[in-house]
């Protein structure tokens, strides 16, 4: 590829600045060499999307914040105030990505922006920390996987239950569950029920409003930019900050909010990180074309007969979290298997995972929850969303990542983006 460029004065200054930056700021590890880590070897980051979630991200340890970015001036001002001096503010994320002194990009925007920013960040050579849900559609997820892997980037999806902390209302971490399932004590195939009874509550208050009236766009917000790839619809306060989850264009209601937290560990427990369910069925009231509503039950089946039930009504009062032919596992690791604790102790530990993002970036090892398994987990959420919206049983080919014999469902797999945005 031709690499000459005409150098203007502006470019020259820019070039000189970044060349100097390379000597002082750019991490040494990138240059290779035998495990060299100087104390000044500081990773740097930018946060794109500084609404309430993003502002909570400004001071995560491990990397120094250099830039914040938002299409809402109020958010930007607030973030800059919290971040303190020396942190630059941008409206256009592409300008952030052009900065060669930034190593890591955080993406706590609403989900309809995740794929675009993540792919652009990967192509700009940044490592990525992305909030859940990973994407709005399955197609967007595939693009992230491709861009992140081909560009050799490290990607972290930010929900951590598969490797640390209590697994929501379940009362233990995921590790013992994984051990137990992996050892085959419960038999196979397994049925997993995610409901309030088994420790997981669905947040149905993330519903959209129907028949919303157009309102004037507040002057601090660039609404067109906020919408980005999403279809244009007249502005209303409820569409944006804080309540965007209630609209299919940007997220997926309670499923979008909690789905990945609850289901990512399930994929891991069932050892399905490289595949997806093949049959999906939802029982729900009819959904509005624009606003997400609630649902009663979603059933997802894998090719080997394993099954996930999302019980939105807490209907099955006796449900075990995991039910297999040889035993059941309830909230708090209760089980009908005698001497479970002793049995657990004799079982081998699962393969280790890299759970320190900064370490993953430095050693170029895949983070425990990355673009690939994250995409598969998010696929469950996105499959469920489509099943709820279409309200008919669907069959899915996990290798091709397409629905079988369903044109309309396939149109929802990768929805077109509004120009000029594209993946």
């Amino acid at each position: 590829m031709t690499r000459k460029k005409p150098i203007t004065r502006r470019d020259f200054i820019k070039h000189t600045i970044s060349a100097t930056a390379a000597l002082t700021i750019v991490p040494r590890y990138i240059l290779g060499g035998a495990g060299y880590t100087a104390p000044s070897d500081q990773l740097t980051k930018a946060v794109i999307g500084v609404g309430s979630m993003g502002r909570g991200h400004l001071h995560y340890p491990g990397a120094k914040l250099l830039a914040v970015c938002d299409v809402d001036e109020n958010h930007l001002n607030m973030a800059q105030k919290i971040a303190g001096p020396g942190v630059a503010a941008y409206k256009d994320f592409r300008e952030v990505l052009e900065r060669s002194d930034i190593d890591i990009v955080h993406i706590p925007t609403p989900p309809h922006w995740h794929a675009l920013i993540a792919v652009a960040a990967a192509e700009a050579g940044k490592d990525i920390w992305c909030e859940k849900p990973m994407t709005r559609t399955i197609g967007e997820g595939q693009k992230i996987v491709e861009a992140v892997q081909k560009n050799g980037r490290i990607f972290r999806l930010n929900t951590w239950f598969r490797f640390r902390g209590q697994f929501y209302g379940f009362g233990t971490t995921v590790k013992p569950i994984k051990k137990l399932v992996q050892s085959g004590v419960l038999g196979w195939p397994l049925k997993i029920t995610v409901s309030g009874i088994t420790g997981f509550d669905w947040k149905f208050y993330w519903s959209g409003e129907t028949n919303i009236k157009p309102e004037p766009v507040p002057k601090e917000l660039d609404y067109d930019f906020w919408l980005g790839p999403a279809p244009y619809k007249p502005y209303n306060k409820h569409r944006v900050h804080g309540t965007f989850r209630g609209y299919w264009d940007y997220d997926g209601g309670g499923l979008g909010d909690m789905g990945m937290h609850y289901l990512d560990p399930v994929q891991y427990i069932l050892d399905k990180d490289d595949t997806s369910p093949v049959e999906i069925e939802a029982d729900c009231p009819q959904q509005h074309p624009d606003a997400c509503g609630s649902w009663r039950r979603i059933q997802l089946k894998y090719a080997d007969g394993c099954e996930i039930i999302l019980d939105g009504e807490n209907k099955d009062k006796d449900a075990a979290f995991i039910e297999g032919p040889d035993g059941k596992l309830f909230k708090g690791l209760e089980s009908d298997i005698p001497n479970l604790k002793e049995k657990l102790a004799t079982l081998p530990e699962p393969e280790p995972q890299v759970t320190d993002f900064i370490k993953a970036v430095r050693t170029r090892k895949k983070f425990a929850l990355n673009e690939e398994n994250g995409h598969r987990s998010c696929t469950i959420v996105n499959l469920s969303k489509i099943a709820v919206r279409l309200g008919r049983p669907l069959r899915f080919d996990p290798d091709k990542q397409r629905f079988i014999n369903d044109v309309e469902a396939n149109r929802l797999i990768a929805q077109p983006m509004r120009a000029p945005w594209h993946l």
Binding site: V26, I30, T210, Y232, K233
Partner: protein, 1141 residues
């Protein structure tokens, strides 16, 4: 006479309507009526219902669907929610398999609607439906919109979804005449379609001055991947924008990938290799990664050399990428090459290759990995340990054990982690075998493995290490015993405990003692040996023996510990009290309370109260008992810290009384923070398990606590719950927080308004509304008045109602709430008017002052709850009764009673005002309409009770009496059943009922005249759910439930003493119950009783197809009125009716 004819006609229509479904007769409704009837049923509650409704619409044909489309309105100009639901239902329905014809009809109708609709947003909605269902028929009509500024984007998206060659052609054809903005949209789409035909047409725009146009053109050319574009893509970096330069290699490589996909693999490889060579800067390290990925993807095994040589690249990211891609080339030859490569690269890279070999699943690499285990370089050894374990499995365990023979902590730790990945049966024998001969650090790791694996059979091996020469090993062994010791080891462990002086080791030994003692089967024998030893022990060692008792428990142990709390040695006494505070069961509670109420030692008090509160809330005691015990301690608590601790504990007692107790502390600075948190914990529902508390008092307490809680998420949760309580209690919001919908400006007064003509009033109202909008505004969810205009009035008039409103005024502020258009419940500054707010200020005869002054300080929110029924008003200010059932006098016409109906007004008195959370609940008046509405008559309802006597009824006609238009059951007179003489099968029954406290009755349906209707027929419960006596009923016993079979939703009954409205629909096997507008039961009785009923009893009555309807007495006073019924599908009756005409 004329009127009569009309009624008959309506009746005929209604009857025909009802009968057409069963009889297949012609449906005579107009198309519009049919559409509206179907629309009214949206949104559907499930898929089957949705598809049924959609098929109804489809059957109405193009014209019918066209009619639906016509009802779309531009956003903000009306409510077309149901229309949008309906169209979306169609969009989904016509896409099912085998419905191509219906899809075509629907798509063409959408296109037709697009022609006639004017509004862009409506058109955009229609196009979005085409994006779901459109195929080639839609391509041509959509083309028109590619010229439109607003609709080009949705039309393009629809064409992209249709994705046929025709769609591509449409885009290509519209492209030239498109505006620049639309051209961007179209070029992007052509790029996504990889349209070869577009290349020639779009290439010129790579040099456009419009940056966006340039970007999408470059992207499109790259994605299309036509060799004609290579030169352009190769030289993007010459372009002027830095964004374009940064993006250049990605686009160039996208192009390369497309080349490979179209078979031009060598060209692709050339580009990739060039980029790998040229991009060496650390800022661009992703570019060679990308190039390498595309290269390997394109030429597969032939890129193996590139993978190998990448290992010499200083760029670590590229090396990692190559390692990840190594799996694409399998086989022993490749393995050998990788091993050979190791000799040519730096140590760090060697380690990377070793890791890869371990996960590449070719056992040919085993010898290399075994050798690496003995490397002089630690980084290599560390990589080799997990790699070898993964590749070799249990066969290489002996070699892995040898890598423990070192003093390097990280190697030992890595090996330990690896060993844990084997099952006990494989790894434990080896661990035991080598334990003796290993260096101390490794011994620690091995002991930890034995302990974690609960390898009890090897407890002696670990006991032996207690006397190791190395302190770290001794500690590890002692710690390990907790998991390994059995009950027979107890004497040994006690001995160790007594001999140990070091504080860490004492605690470890205690853990082991506890674990071992707890293995003894008989709980009372567990502490036997410890207590015996305690008797023989003197001095400080007694403390060490006392502590473990708290984790074992038992009667004897408890007595001993209690005795020790009274010993003179202060150290032992302290230990005994804290041991007691940690006691595992409620048996220690009494003594803790004793200590708490008698001791003078502050430290002991704190221990005692913490232990006591914990034991009480963890106990199985009934909530009232827990509450009583905690209240008792609260009464004698002296210190702030103690009280706060008790308040915190009360959070787990979730009853109204507990809430009241805690609420009393909201006003006290020392306790309000904790009290507020506790209040929320008590009142709010717990996820998945429990409903929250209900009622006006709960709302008032929660409102107080919101202001004291700092966490904004928690505040929001509480606010949301308050609205839930209100909505479930039948309240609706009068103020949406966003605008003034539902409100109007003030025109004159009731007298002057009455004198105006309609025209005058309309005009005056328009002016008043204009002025209102200037002075009343919705700001951040608050209704704000600037102090300068007139009062604000509700659009609606109200008769009897209960309302809630939060208000706030400034200094000297003055306002009030007008009821039925009349002044007023007073609001003002108590500094000027000390009697305070809330009184009926304009009363001359009756009381006009509030009972108490309970205003919150000026500038803070106060809450008014006003209930008006008939002429009387009751008001609570900040939850304190200030007006007690007082007759409100008529201010406008003094000699008249208060008007029966009118608007509610927020009074302007020339001072700034603030209102929020305005909710109202309409109360069905005592004297409701008796008889059928016009609509009901038209629909075929009949009165089941004539309002005068019990004609048509049979059974207990002494217990039930007809009076004042009601059927009333007086338990003193009888408590039997009152049945209709006639039998009914499928029907809609509507009636109103009023409960007395604790009332119990039932609605029998399809019942015989004798026997217990709950079993021989069906009984729908009629019950005061709120009565304390019913708190432990089964879910299927509460109001509305089909007794024993189907539970009803709770929370929708009006307060006792008010009329409730109920509708029961029995249709075949489906029973639906609506209570006060909410569906509380909707179930199929067959499904609900299969395989067994909820109560497990036999309900033969479920099988009955018809029977009598009746009220089933259970000894309580209950009133019924407005009882009417419509029979469903009764064919003979319809025939007779028609025949008679």
């Amino acid at each position: 006479m004329k009127n009569n004819k009309k009624t008959i006609l309506i009746l005929i229509t209604a009857v025909l309507l009802a009968s057409s479904l069963v009889m297949g007769q012609e449906d005579v409704r107009t198309l519009k009526t049919k559409v509206v009837d179907t629309l009214a049923k949206f949104p559907a509650q499930n898929t089957a219902e949705r598809d049924k409704l959609a098929s109804e619409l489809i059957q109405l044909g193009q014209e019918g669907i066209q009619e639906v489309c016509r009802m779309l309105v531009p956003p903000g100009t009306g409510d077309d929610t149901r229309v949008r639901f309906a169209l979306n239902a169609l969009s989904v329905y016509v896409h099912r398999a085998g419905a191509e014809q219906e899809r075509g009809i629907y798509a063409r109708t959408l296109l037709k609607a697009l022609e006639s609709q004017k509004d862009s947003e409506v058109k955009a909605f229609l196009i979005r439906q085409l994006q779901l269902v459109g195929k080639n028929e839609s391509v041509k009509p959509l083309r028109i919109f590619l010229k439109d500024k607003r609709l080009c984007e949705p039309a393009t998206q629809a064409l992209l979804a249709i994705r046929t060659p025709e769609a591509e052609k449409a885009l290509l054809r519209s492209f030239r005449s498109a505006s620049e903005t639309n051209r961007i949209t179209i070029i992007k789409a052509l790029g996504e379609l990889r349209s070869k035909a577009a290349v020639k047409k779009i290439t010129r725009y790579v040099s456009s001055r419009n940056e966006k146009l340039r970007h999408v053109t470059l992207y499109a050319l790259a994605n299309i991947g036509d060799p004609k574009s290579e030169k352009i893509l190769d030289s993007i970096s010459l372009a002027s924008s830095s964004y374009e330069r940064a993006k250049a290699p990605s686009l160039y490589l996208l192009y390369a990938q497309r080349l490979a996909e179209s078979g031009k693999k060598q060209q692709c490889a050339r580009i990739c290799r060039n980029l790998i060579k040229n991009y060496t800067s650390p800022h661009e390290s992703n570019v060679p990664c990308l190039a390498l990925s595309i290269l390997v993807n394109a030429i597969g095994e032939r890129a193996f050399g590139d993978l190998l040589s990448s290992m010499e690249n200083p760029n670590k990211e590229l090396r990692s990428r190559a390692i990840e891609l190594a799996g694409t080339v399998q086989g022993e030859y490749a393995t050998a090459q990788w091993i050979k490569k190791m000799t040519e690269v730096p140590t760090e890279t060697q380690a990377e290759i070793i890791t890869m070999l371990g996960y590449r699943n070719d056992t040919a690499a085993l010898p290399t990995l075994l050798q690496a285990l003995k490397s002089d370089e630690k980084i290599i050894r560390l990589a080799a340990i997990p790699a070898l374990a993964h590749l070799g499995g249990s066969d290489v365990l002996p070699e892995l054990f040898t890598s423990l023979y070192t003093d390097q902590a990280d190697e030992i730790n890595t090996t330990k982690q690896v060993l844990k990945r084997f099952p006990s049966i494989e790894v434990i024998p080896g661990v035991v075998k080598i334990l003796e001969e290993m260096p101390p650090l490794a011994q620690v790791a091995l002991i930890e493995i034995l302990s974690e694996r609960l390898a009890k059979e090897h407890v002696d091996t670990v006991f032996a290490q207690i006397n190791s020469d190395h302190e770290s090993v001794r500690l590890a062994a002692l710690a390990g015993l907790e998991n390994l010791a059995s009950e027979k080891d107890l004497p040994h462990l006690i001995k160790i405990l007594l001999e140990t002086q070091d504080i860490t080791k004492i605690s470890l030994a205690q853990n082991a003692v506890v674990a071992s003692a707890n293995l003894i089967t008989d709980p009372e024998k567990r502490t036997g040996l410890i207590l015996e030893t305690l008797e023989e022990t003197t001095g400080a060692k007694r403390v060490d023996l006392l502590r473990p008792l708290a984790k074992i428990g038992g009667k004897n142990a408890l007595q001993t510990v209690i005795a020790e709390t009274k010993t003179e040695n202060p150290i032992i006494q302290d230990a005994a009290v804290s041991t007691l505070a940690e006691w595992p069961d409620i048996s220690a509670a009494e003594e803790l309370f004793n200590i708490y109420s008698t001791t003078k030692k502050q430290e002991h008090r704190l221990f005692a109260i913490q232990g006591y509160v914990r034991l009480v809330i963890e106990s199985e005691l009934a909530p009232e008992k827990k509450l009583r015990k905690l209240k008792e301690t609260l009464d004698i608590a002296a210190e702030t810290e103690e009280k706060n601790h008790i308040l915190k504990g009360l959070g787990s007692v979730k009853t109204l009384n507990s809430l009241r107790l805690v609420a009393a502390y909201l006003g006290n600075q020392d306790f309000q923070a904790q009290a507020a948190i506790t209040v929320a914990e008590i009142a709010l529902p717990q996820p998945g398990t429990m409903r929250g508390l209900f009622g006006a008092e709960v709302i008032s307490v929660l409102k107080k606590s919101v202001g004291l809680i700092e966490d904004s998420y928690e505040q929001e949760r509480i606010e949301k719950y308050i609205s839930t309580i209100l909505e479930q209690g039948g309240f609706v919001s009068l103020f949406n927080g966003k605008d003034l919908s539902g409100w109007k400006g003030l025109v004159g007064n009731p007298i002057s308004r009455a004198k105006m003509t309609t025209e005058e009033l309309t005009k005056a109202q328009e002016e008043a509304d204009l002025s209102m909008r200037e002075h009343w505004k919705a700001v951040d969810g608050i209704l704000v008045f600037d102090g300068k205009g007139e009062s604000l009035c509700t659009l609606k008039d109200y008769t009897d109602f209960e309302m809630l409103v939060d208000w706030k005024i400034e200094k000297h502020g003055d306002s009030g709430i007008y009821l039925r258009g009349s002044p007023q419940v007073q609001i003002w500054d108590p500094e000027q008017w000390p009697e305070g707010s809330g009184g009926l200020y304009n009363n001359k005869e009756g009381p006009s002052k509030p009972l108490k002054c309970v205003d919150n300080p000026i500038g803070e929110w106060s809450t008014l709850r006003i209930k008006m029924t008939g002429e009387t008003v009751t008001a609570y200010l900040n939850n304190v009764l200030v007006v007690d059932n007082v007759v409100m006098e008529n201010y406008w016409e003094r000699y008249k009673p208060i008007y029966p109906v009118g608007q509610i007004e927020l009074q302007s008195h020339n001072s700034p005002l603030y209102f929020r959370n305005i909710f109202i609940r309409e109360i069905i008046p005592e004297k409701g309409a008796q008889g059928l509405t016009e609509q009901e008559t038209a629909e075929g309802f009949e009165l089941l009770f004539n309002g005068k006597d019990l004609t048509g009824w049979t059974g207990d006609t002494t217990g039930y009496v007809a009076e004042d238009g009601k059927i009333v059951i007086y338990p003193k007179r009888g408590s039997g059943n009152l049945y209709t003489e006639k039998e009914y099968s499928d029907f809609i029954l509507r009636f109103e009922f009023k409960l007395t406290p604790g009332a119990n009755n039932g609605l029998g349906i399809r019942a015989p005249l004798t026997g217990d209707a709950a079993y021989v027929g069906m009984e729908l419960q009629i019950l005061d759910n709120t009565a304390h006596i019913y708190k432990d009923l089964e879910p299927y016993q509460y109001h509305g439930s089909i007794y024993g079979i189907i539970p009803a939703k709770r929370g929708y009954l009006r307060p006792v003493g008010e009329w409730n409205y109920e509708e029961v629909i029995a249709k075949g096997r489906r029973i639906t119950v609506n209570l006060n507008g909410v569906t509380i039961v909707d179930a199929n009785i067959d499904k609900a009783s299969t395989p067994t009923t909820l109560d497990g009893k036999d309900h033969p009555g479920l099988k009955r197809e018809k029977g009598h309807i009746g009220f089933l007495g259970h000894g309580s006073h209950v009133e019924f009125r407005n009882i009417r019924i419509k029979e469903l599908n009764e064919i003979p009756r319809v025939l007779i009716f028609i025949y008679n005409l």
